[in-house]
């Protein structure tokens, strides 16, 4: 029996800065809470294909599992939690300068 589809977001790294980005309704965002949560597998596949085609903007596109808490996506796996937050030894990355802007 196929595994049920669980909620996901499309994520990648920005080509110029290299930092973690997520696909939102309006394009790419650096803030996971702004990401589009994909609950339909076919829709997720389509968004992944569209995002992967943006080779001049992003690198390494994939689908990452999320939970939805109070309507906001949160990482399921600790790797995604570190990607969403930044390193644990310095206040660098997203925790240094939270950026909400779209790419």
């Amino acid at each position: 029996m196929p595994k049920p589809f669980t909620p996901k977001v499309v994520t990648a790294n920005a080509l110029l800065e290299g930092d973690v980005i997520y696909l939102s309704a309006d394009g790419w965002t650096r803030d996971l809470s702004q990401a589009d949560v994909l609950t339909d597998e076919a829709d997720a596949d389509l968004r992944l294909i569209e995002a992967s085609a943006q080779v001049d903007t992003v690198v390494g596109v994939y689908l990452a599992d999320v939970d939805v808490q109070d309507g906001v996506p949160v990482p399921v796996h600790f790797r995604e939690a570190f990607r969403a937050k930044g390193p644990s030894n310095y206040i660098h990355g997203k925790q240094e300068a939270p950026q909400q802007e779209q790419l």
Partner: protein, 554 residues
């Protein structure tokens, strides 16, 4: 140290211009990521978890004050004001932006530095004993031959697409501070009948299948070294497994074919290529050796050292742990700890880098070294200057007296930075260091090497840690496996896995149980952790690690 020629300068300039054009073409969309990736990796540029990472080569860990100052300038201008010194004697910048990297490379080239062959399936940065040229126990300085190997291997047309990366380490002393038995090729300078030559070890390596290297030749003359190396790498290039990246390293080639078969193939290849080496390499080596001439040591008063040692217990503690014997008895080798308790192992701020450069200039014959243990060395400091050096270091958070002790931990960047990692390393190292500092047990415990890797690739050398810690992902949770009894010296050994792993919350108490067991088990304070382990084996430590299992078995 080696001085670049006009040829070297022109080579770097051309290479950087090529890469600048490649970056521009990636940004304007002319190159896809698939096309660009091998080009950026050839220039040391990775894409990691949160950002790009630029890995800069520090050949055989040697640099001068001007180079160290340039590394600091780069950290300030294009990164976040610090750099991370690695177990490969490199420096990594964790936050560069793609557009800036060509400028960073140009800045490096101003001081004869680069990032070539710090990535990719090629011969990587050649590493060496960090006490090279200074150690009291040295047969000869390994750096001239390391530089010759660097020149031979850089852009060598036959070896740009090897089955996997290839690492060479060189030592000039019997006491192995370069971990030569865990390298693809390890070279030890040895003396035979009054002539210097090389013991050649092949097929060592850590990672997924850790192996101690095997002796291929007990003695290779200096004239035969490059043809021998060329023959070894040629044999590996042809024979190495390209069907499975996990079996592609030369350690697997040696293991699967046997050392005798490899020796026969190398002998055969050597005979074919020997005449191509007409002696020019030896002329080059002679020129290189002149660049590594021993500094002119001064005769000066050592009284300040002895009086400070007597009157300042903090200086005494630092001197006891951070100073090693120099070949000139009036001098000392200073290891500067980049392991202040609670800090990230191997990280130095730009301000700290500048201070170390200034101290090297003023007190250290303008020489610095990076150790594979992620510390910085001032190889030639007059003993009379040691108090001045220590107080200056202490003022900038660089005076930690812990070289070789429990908090002098090797830790790879782990999942805080590395895209390959399966768990974090840095917070575990930080917690161990602060925990044992709080217990005030560090000096009581004595020599003990803890090495932590955040994945099976073992960049943190956990297999050769007296206590090795390997971070893994177990069903979406960070889990840490312990190995015991590893050793990266001339008596190299792979550690034994102790048993089931521990969660992040459990790993510090687990390490504490091992250490407390050692304190109970040692026959005297003079018996080191490793010697106690070798005397008693895994069992008593396992019982301490897993008290419930021990109780159930009883």
């Amino acid at each position: 140290m080696y001085h670049y020629t006009d040829f070297d300068d022109a080579f770097l300039k051309e290479r950087n211009a090529q890469f600048r054009a490649q970056v521009e073409r990636r940004i304007d969309g002319s190159l896809t990521e698939d096309e660009f990736k091998p080009l950026r990796l050839m220039n040391g540029l990775y894409l990691q978890l949160h950002a790009y990472m630029l890995r800069v080569a520090i050949p055989y860990g040697t640099l001068n004050s001007r180079q160290m100052e340039k590394l600091a300038d780069i950290a300030d201008r294009w990164d976040k004001g610090y750099g991370h010194f690695t177990t490969r004697q490199n420096i990594q910048y964790n936050w560069p932006e793609l557009r800036d990297v060509p400028d960073m490379l140009d800045a490096l080239a101003e001081v004869n530095m680069h990032a070539i062959q710090t990535s990719g399936n090629t011969i990587r940065n050649v590493t060496a004993d960090h006490f090279a040229g200074a150690a009291a126990d040295e047969v000869a300085d390994p750096r001239p031959v390391a530089e010759l190997i660097r020149q031979w291997s850089t852009d060598h047309p036959e070896f740009q697409f090897l089955p996997r990366k290839f690492k060479v380490a060189v030592t000039g002393a019997a006491a192995d501070r370069a971990v030569i038995k865990a390298h693809d090729i390890g070279l030890q300078i040895v003396e035979k009948d009054g002539t210097l030559g090389f013991k050649v070890i092949v097929g060592g390596g850590l990672g997924r299948t850790p192996m101690i290297g095997k002796v291929l030749y007990e003695f290779v003359s200096q004239e035969d070294l490059l043809p021998t190396l060329e023959a070894i790498v040629s044999v590996y290039n042809l024979l190495g497994r390209r069907d499975n990246k996990y079996k592609a390293r030369i350690k697997i080639t040696v293991h699967e074919n046997g050392i005798e078969d490899i020796r026969a193939r190398v002998d055969s290849r050597y005979k074919l290529i020997r005449e191509q080496f007409t002696g020019i390499d030896q002329q080059m080596l002679a020129r290189i050796e002149a660049d590594f001439a021993t500094p002119t040591f001064v005769k000066s008063d050592v009284t300040p050292y002895h009086s400070t040692y007597q009157h300042d217990p903090l200086f005494r503690s630092w001197a006891d742990t951070n100073i090693a014997a120099h070949k000139n008895p009036d001098y000392a080798i200073v290891s500067i700890s980049l392991k202040a308790h609670g800090k990230t192992p191997g990280d130095a701020t730009s301000r700290q880098m500048r201070l170390m450069a200034q101290l090297a200039k003023r007190y250290g014959h303008d020489e610095l070294r990076i150790s594979h243990e992620q510390n910085v060395i001032l190889p030639h400091v007059h003993k009379g200057d040691l108090p001045s050096v220590y107080y200056a270091l202490k003022a900038e958070g660089l005076g930690t007296a812990n070289i070789g002790l429990i908090s002098d931990i090797i830790a790879c960047p782990g999942m805080d930075y590395c895209a390959l990692a399966t768990a974090r390393s840095i917070p575990i190292a930080q917690e161990i260091a602060t925990h044992f500092d709080a217990l005030k047990l560090e000096h009581e415990v004595g020599p003990l090497k803890i090495k932590i890797s955040g994945c099976i690739n073992a960049c943190g050398h956990h297999h050769v840690g007296h206590i090795g810690i390997l971070g893994l992902d177990r069903a979406g949770v960070e889990n840490y496996q312990i190995t015991l009894g590893g050793d990266g010296t001339e008596d190299a050994q792979i550690g034994e896995r102790a048993g089931p792993g521990f969660s992040a919350d459990e790993i510090i108490p687990a390490v504490e149980r091992i250490v407390m067991a050692y304190l109970d088990l040692r026959d005297s304070p003079a018996e080191t952790f490793l010697n106690t382990y070798r005397r008693l084996g895994l069992a008593p430590f396992k019982a301490a690690l897993y008290p419930e299992a021990a109780a159930n078995a009883a």
